[in-house]
Symmetry: C2
Subunit: 412 residues, 2 copies
Amino acid sequence: MPALAINRDRLWSDLMTLGCLGATPRGGSDRLSLTDADRDARNLFVHWCAEAGLAVTIDAMGNVFGRREGADPSLPPVLAGSHLDTQQPGGKFDGPLGVLAALAAVRAMNAAGIVTQRAVEVVNWTNEEGARFAPGLMGSGVFAGKLDLAATHATADRGGATVGAELARIGYRGAAPCGGRAVDSYFELHIEQGPVLEAAGRVIGAVTGSHYMLYLGLECLGENGHAQSLPQARRRNALYGASRLVAEIEAIGDAHAPAGTASAITMDVWPNNRINIAHRAVFAASVVHPAREGVEAMEAAILAAMARIADETGLALSVVSRMRRDPIVFDAGLAEETLRLAAARGHSAMPALTRPGHDAFNLSAICPTALIFVPCLDGVSHSELERASLEHCAAGAEILLDHMLNRAGRAN
Amino acid sequence: MPALAINRDRLWSDLMTLGCLGATPRGGSDRLSLTDADRDARNLFVHWCAEAGLAVTIDAMGNVFGRREGADPSLPPVLAGSHLDTQQPGGKFDGPLGVLAALAAVRAMNAAGIVTQRAVEVVNWTNEEGARFAPGLMGSGVFAGKLDLAATHATADRGGATVGAELARIGYRGAAPCGGRAVDSYFELHIEQGPVLEAAGRVIGAVTGSHYMLYLGLECLGENGHAQSLPQARRRNALYGASRLVAEIEAIGDAHAPAGTASAITMDVWPNNRINIAHRAVFAASVVHPAREGVEAMEAAILAAMARIADETGLALSVVSRMRRDPIVFDAGLAEETLRLAAARGHSAMPALTRPGHDAFNLSAICPTALIFVPCLDGVSHSELERASLEHCAAGAEILLDHMLNRAGRAN
């Protein structure tokens, strides 16, 4: 039987349509989780699910499932999807591609009149990005039993609004329990958010696992003082000490590129007014490398720079939090299957590692999981400049479809 | 007739008592303008005014006046005071000294049974610090006709609370008009907030004018991107560019010390979350020097560093606002009188320049004004470590008293 076709133009149209919700001036989207724009995207997704004949369920975390029933409803379903929320600003592809490609796959099954043995469900996970409510991978985390539902509902953004209240406000605090049910397998298509596929000229990445990641919360303590009158020699400017280290961290990242990356990414200072020397600066660094030794070398370099700056300035610099993520390992059989499916479709492919986290990380704890990459321009994501091509998106959707069909099994 | 005595122990007790309102762990105070702690300080000041027999008036800006009537109520009064609000955290002396010393002077007149020709008023100006609501010198600014009352009432803090609403909330949106009445003269005692008196071993500073001051609002624009996956060579981290310039600004201040000072003092970055490269950083620098050429040289050095960093990093750095304050010149006759009064009391004295702004700047636009300094430890202010001695505070209060009596005139 010939391979099923994806409606490429419809997939692209859906991506561009969704990108209009929370659109930003330079072609990106701004749909922070549980905002009005996120609600609009969810409503559109629900509409498209209904249009495709899917039965929609919303769980207590606002995860949205569109179910295409199988011949044997008692079998655990095959799940495929990703997330519709974005960074601020974000792009049109990071997240939506995985959801809308799964929807395109279901439409292809509909068009071919296929009945699968297992049900297939297209899923939109709540708050993958973590940009408004930390941590990210939130909806899938509760679903997989890694996060507590009540504690997650109580999580607040910087303005004090909670996940639970915001879910209710936008109408997505659903009645269905979150998780606690058997899942056969999970498939997620995503842009690579890195330069490897593009540089290698490959269309499909079969993700085998992830990089080593380190998140360092840092603090510099100085002493408050009048910014116009405190003698320069008496100044203990916490913003100065923090800034010295920020500059060093970027240089350390440069020294370990291209395999490694390191940047300081956040900064809050106190009292942060125009008349005072800052007495406190809290900032953070993100460090990523494919090898454990790489992360360790960068961390050691940051700590050495911190000690040197403290010594030179008399400021107190310290690590106040440290979060390390060891690599995840995806189902090896499914990753190999991705390579075989790509070859059968005539798409160039290669094994790949992911640097960012994905909902697939959480799902891999409860079922066989495959993460599939397609290239994005210059490795750029979380940006209005995030771009992917119609051809690559469609190729990825084809592999997703083939995986879903293989796993769900034909009943007709 | 012998010089009147100040009750030094009562003055010191008042300073320490007031310091307990909003007290911080290391001996400072946290009384941001129009907070509950500021209200408590105002209430205590009103109580002490009533205790001293003063008639209290509160104007539309919440400025509080305690009036000791003169023999001729039709004559414009002599004003003396400062402010009770602090930075966050601030010390016990910056502000309260000028208010409580004026109160001590009035008590000394009471004890000696003196009747003055003109009325004398002790004043607490609203929001001198500008730490919560910008700009500072706010109450005196409206009083002197430099700021518009309605616009000032509409000024909001970062949380959206307005000056007008907060005045009403704490019960200090008074019925009296703000300003628009004749004032004979204004006297303000303040700690120096600099190291000059201490280094010279002098007790009294007769302030003749102020330094040159420059406030530069700065911005660095980069590009948002995923902090874990964007290739290092593609990163355009706005926080990195801003931090490089912050480090340079501190070095420029060091190079122009001790006469000059320069520091970066605020920093806000977007999107400021743990997963993204910052695409925007807004920060500011404060530059002070006694000579115009000094400020100009430091500004030129900052602009040169900005251009070099932009060139080296590819980031867009720019000056987005620029506020320059040329020196104010106080009444020369009153400053000379300060030196004479100090000599008569046996206190060492010298002419001085102020680096920070004071309410006396605004009052000098509408009446002869004298600003009087006493030393503070190590030039430190706006800090829990701010310290001044009982002896110096009392000496300053004596000069304030003598000025007030001279100007108000004896009627008995």
